[in-house]
């Protein structure tokens, strides 16, 4: 990127960075506001987590898309990212797998085990 850019294009890009910064700052304030709203409205924890993660994902998309220029990158980088996202998803699914295992067979054993260690 950037090798063949004209000064006008770079200046336009710079203005876009400032707009993205303003959006990120506003979303940060929104994240904090939502967290207080969650306590104030006695919102369910699941809803609060979902809202917080949605806002964080939008912020992450702005950083990755504009600052890391992923909106306009080479296929090699998209391929690396696709593989990364696949393995990252597997790692994030692991806790769900652990729960399925826990709920299905060994709740009592786990409790007994925990009791022994305490």
């Amino acid at each position: 990127m950037g090798g063949h850019d004209t000064p006008e294009a770079i200046h336009a890009e710079t203005r876009r960075y400032i707009v993205v910064f303003a959006a990120l700052a506003a979303l940060t304030v929104l994240t904090v506001a939502v967290s207080y709203l969650h306590l104030y409205l006695d919102m369910a924890m699941g809803v609060a987590v979902l809202l917080a993660m949605v806002i964080a994902s939008v912020k992450a998309a702005l950083v990755a898309g504009y600052f890391m220029h992923l909106l306009n990158e080479r296929k090699t980088i998209y391929a690396i990212l696709a593989l990364t996202i696949f393995f990252f998803s597997l790692v994030m699914i692991l806790p769900a797998g652990a729960f399925a295992d826990h709920n299905g067979t060994s709740t009592e054993v786990a409790h007994e085990g925990a009791g022994e260690h305490n």
Binding site: G2, A60, L83, T84, V91
Partner: protein
């Protein structure tokens, strides 16, 4: 022997080597932090008696703003080099460095307040997760500061001998720095607000 493809893209990848390298490194970083986030989810949701400590949200919000600002300044520093304006690079590079210092100072105050309150990594799982994740992130900020310090100091000589390569180095550093910002974007709500 000359290192190949420091400026011109490799025909098969379409990228200069350092850019491919930093993305591969960032992929490994995603897995490192991913494993920690996954462990956190498992520990937290698996424990109905998870201890909730009140974290310092205003300080963490300030640090979020600092990191977001530093992401803009680093990209403006790179834009300066693309415009052949070394003074702009220097100005925004120094600003990025100062913002990173600010982040570490705020984090230091936060840690110090937590230690004073008797909260240590071994206090409970909440604090163990908190110190492990924010500590590892802090080390990344520190590592970035060392690299940026080099580029603002002795490493800047390359601007005179090979400006395109130096510009690419700053782009590569910027990608790392944005990733550090990205990790914090998820750490902030996960550890401070939920």
């Amino acid at each position: 022997m000359e290192i190949p493809y420091t400026v011109e893209p490799r025909p098969d990848t379409g990228l200069y080597n350092a850019k491919l390298g930093i993305w591969l490194f960032l992929a490994s970083e995603v897995m490192l932090f991913g494993a920690l986030f996954s462990s956190y989810i498992l520990l937290r949701t698996g424990n109905p008696n998870w201890v909730h400590h009140e974290m310092n949200v205003p300080m963490a919000t300030l640090n979020t703003m600092i990191l977001i600002s530093s992401s803009v300044t680093v990209v403006l520093a790179w834009a300066g080099l693309r415009l052949k304006n070394f003074a702009q690079f220097r100005k925004f590079g120094i600003l990025t460095f100062l913002l990173a210092c600010g982040f570490m100072v705020v984090k230091g105050f936060e840690y110090s307040a937590e230690f004073s309150a008797g909260l240590f990594p071994w206090t409970d799982n909440t604090m163990a997760v908190y110190f492990t994740m924010t500590g590892l992130h802090g080390l990344h900020v520190l590592g970035g500061m060392v690299v940026l310090g080099y580029f603002l100091g002795p490493g800047a000589k390359m601007w005179g001998s090979n400006p395109e390569r130096f510009t690419n180095r700053i782009e590569t550093f910027g990608l790392y720095w944005h990733f550090v910002d990205l990790v914090w974007i998820f750490l902030f709500p996960s550890l401070y607000l939920l």
